[in-house]
């Protein structure tokens, strides 16, 4: 099991490669979409690069819970319900949802993922 620092370095390298950003832009707190400018097709690239770098398999639904965010029983008036938040926490235990919970608008979910979240996710796959 690699150390947190080793995981971060590999994730950082994958993001620098996939997004054309500088090393120092890829901080643990940086958001993938807002800070690093990732677009939807970049996530496909990032997933493949992480799979290769760590020798893991990343099913899309583990990183992108579209099925929850489009499920009428978990979303009301464009916001994720308490039940939906609970489901998200179960599905994405590595994600920090504290800010999102304050105002859980579905449209904001895409900008939730940070570099740190990605590192924590990878760590769960390497256990």
């Amino acid at each position: 099991m690699p150390s947190s620092e080793e995981i971060f370095q590999k994730v950082q390298a994958a993001l620098v490669d996939a997004l054309g950003v500088e090393d120092d832009e890829v901080t643990p707190e940086a958001t993938m979409v807002g800070d690093l400018g990732a677009e939807s097709i970049d996530f496909l690239d990032i997933v493949f690069k992480l799979e290769k770098a760590f020798g893991i398999n990343i099913p899309r639904e583990e990183l992108f819970p579209d099925d929850i965010l489009t499920n009428a029983s978990y979303v009301k008036d464009g916001k994720v319900t308490a039940q939906g938040i609970s489901e998200l926490k179960t599905r994405l235990p590595w994600a920090n949802l504290s800010n999102f919970e304050q105002n859980p608008r579905v449209q904001d979910f895409g900008n939730l993922l940070t570099v740190n979240d990605l590192c924590r996710y990878v760590a769960t796959k390497l256990k």
Partner: protein
């Protein structure tokens, strides 16, 4: 102009790898027009040739019914120019596959020397992008035959693959409707 930037398949292993040949000739317009006086085969067209090689490798997995588009050139490094008379050998390896896309690693060789390396991301379009097919099946079938794909294509266990029935049906229907 025909938008084919590969001439024929040399090897095709279903869902794994495809190798194509592209012969560079001064008869092609882009060579002389691209940088007059210094004819060479533009790198962008080599990327397109790799996209066609990898895209057909991917599309074949669903009998060429999948609508596959080149979504991102994640990497493309070129080490020297391809010039008239050169023969490019393009190898596309399918290294990642998900429902919404795929990742292909490509290498190009000329006379056994590595000319280029690239990584391409493909998107597989779903119904949200409409349901219109990219190709008329009989036309694509004719191109694939010309490129000798079905002559060289094998499954991983070495079995030949047949021309897809939906393409043959389209061809037969067209011929029947246009019979003299």
């Amino acid at each position: 102009m025909r938008w084919f930037w590969i001439d024929r398949f040399e090897k095709f292993t279903v869902g794994k790898e495809a190798v194509t040949i592209k012969n560079v000739t001064l008869a092609e317009e882009p060579l002389d027009d691209y940088l007059p006086g210094h004819p060479h085969y533009p790198h962008s067209l080599i990327v397109e040739g790799m996209a066609q090689t990898g895209g057909l490798l991917l599309s074949q997995m669903e009998q060429f019914l999948q609508r596959v588009v080149l979504a991102k050139v994640a990497k493309a490094d070129f080490f020297f120019l391809a010039k008239p008379g050169d023969q490019l050998r393009l190898t596309a390896k399918l290294v990642g596959l998900q429902a919404e896309g795929a990742f292909v690693e490509g290498t190009v060789e000329i006379d056994g020397k590595r000319q280029a390396e690239m990584e391409l991301t493909f998107a597989i379009l779903d119904e949200s992008y409409g349901n219109r097919p990219f190709f008329i099946p009989r036309d694509l079938l004719r191109v694939l035959r010309a490129m000798r794909l079905f002559e060289v294509a094998r499954t991983e266990s070495g079995e030949r693959i047949a021309e897809p029935q939906h393409m043959l049906d389209d061809e037969i229907a067209y011929l029947a409707a246009n019979a003299i």
